[in-house]
């Protein structure tokens, strides 16, 4: 993989840091009037998801990371791996528990997910921004009770728990924003 100098750093560039592929979020040029220039970079470690700041001397270079994002449809899980398919080539790929992580609760069969591959292997599985899931369990709540604005917890088919308004009942399908885990509305039938 090619090396990248600090003047090639920009948001979206994937580099290797401490043996882990990282995504550059921001690059700020820092230079005292009479002194050495630095690049202060905000990066996200792609495997752990940790965001950190790192400062490089201008002109330093780092190894690039062979990382690509690909859109794949979620098929099924066999309990150990989660299987995805490229809709055009029908090529299948299996992601392990580490790559799926917390997002397992948003995986809906046939939904398109973004899979990040590092050296060809999946390291991150990102669900669609919105998913629709059936409520499998929630307190009945009182119809017409709008005083409690906090809503109530509801368990969805994948095990995810979200807060929903009191009028939403078990068996209904709801639309959820996977980025913050918030209820958006009842799914259109």
């Amino acid at each position: 993989m090619a090396n990248f100098s600090t003047n090639e750093f920009k948001a979206g560039l994937k580099i290797m840091l401490d043996g882990e592929p990282c995504n550059i979020l921001e690059n700020e040029f820092v230079k005292p009037g009479k002194g050495q220039a630095f690049s202060r970079v905000k990066i996200r470690k792609l495997i752990t998801g940790k965001v950190l700041e790192k400062t490089f001397k201008s002109g330093e270079s780092v190894e690039g990371a062979d990382v690509i994002d690909t859109e794949l449809d979620y098929l099924y899980t066999d309990g150990e791996f989660w299987h995805f398919m490229n809709n055009e080539t029908f090529e299948q790929i299996a992601a392990d528990e580490k790559a799926v992580g917390e997002n397992v609760k948003w995986l809906v069969e046939n939904d398109t997910c973004t899979i990040t591959l590092w050296n060809g292997a999946p390291i991150v599985v990102q669900p669609a921004n919105f998913v629709e899931l059936e409520i499998t369990d929630t307190d009945p709540g009182l119809k017409g009770d709008t005083a409690g604005t906090g809503g109530k917890p509801a368990t969805l088919a994948t095990g995810a728990v979200v807060r929903v308004p009191l009028f939403v009942q078990r068996g209904e399908v709801v639309r959820v924003d996977t980025r913050n885990g918030e209820y958006v509305g009842r799914a259109q039938k």
Partner: protein, 328 residues
Amino acid sequence: MLNQYPQTAWQPSADIVTLKKRAQLLRAIRDFFYHKNVLEVDTPALSHAAVTDQHLHSFSTCFNDPMSPQEKTLFLQTSPEFAMKRLLCAGSGSIYQICKSFRNEEAGRFHNPEFTMLEWYRVGYDHHQLMAEVDELIQLILETEPAERMTYQQAFQQHLKCDPLTASLDELRLLAGRYGYQDIAANESSRDTLMMLLFSQHIEPHIGQERPCLVYEFPASQAALAKISKDNPLVAERFELYFKGVELANGFHELSDADEQRQRFEQDNQTRLSLGLQSMPLDKHLIAALKHGLPECAGVALGIDRLLMLSLNCASIDQVTAFEHHRA
């Protein structure tokens, strides 16, 4: 190509209201100096000589002189300092200039490769008297409280519990490592680079938040073109002004010794060569002028774009320049 042209790319990066404020600011500065009898001057942007400081990168261009068979390399000036000092040596008295300065390899939120600089020199002043005048101008333009003052040593001791004048390279490496710069510290052989890193990242953000802060008595190793203090050879008579995390001005009690100036230029060029950088043609005219005699004086350079950013609360230099470099 034309259909890929972004629809708004021709437009200024600063809005017209900001550009009007910019004009008002320039006028206020000219009034300030007019009332103090400081002469406005206009010196060349192109010169046969260039700054030797390893951290400053000059743009160069090629001059095809119609009166000479040889092509000449000319350098765009990183500041008007050398030419203005020659005017001082020629007996101009106190002078100021508002001009474009050019620095290669600089672009970012606070940097544009060409920017507007206010530089002024006061004959008979030392750095303390000039600091007072800088403070006066800033109070006028930014409507601030009088600036706070601290030495470079006090700033380091207060914020990093370290004495920058006596700390060894190893101590500074350790300190930088503790702040998360292990990778830089491991290979760094310059005390000054480590001090600049720590200062810019861990002192600058904390000083001059409520009112501007004047930091003075920089380490002698960062003297640039300032006199070394007679009272303490470890420090130089250099100051900087910081406000709200922005480095706004840099001033010197000016070095007037021609031989020492030549030695510093030659030393800079040695450093450049050792770093694999090109050595720069020394300004012989400046050395000759200093030999003739520079009057006792202090000088300061202040970034006009940054001053306007602070005055209008703008986050980026693009918002205060008519066309930032991508649109230029």
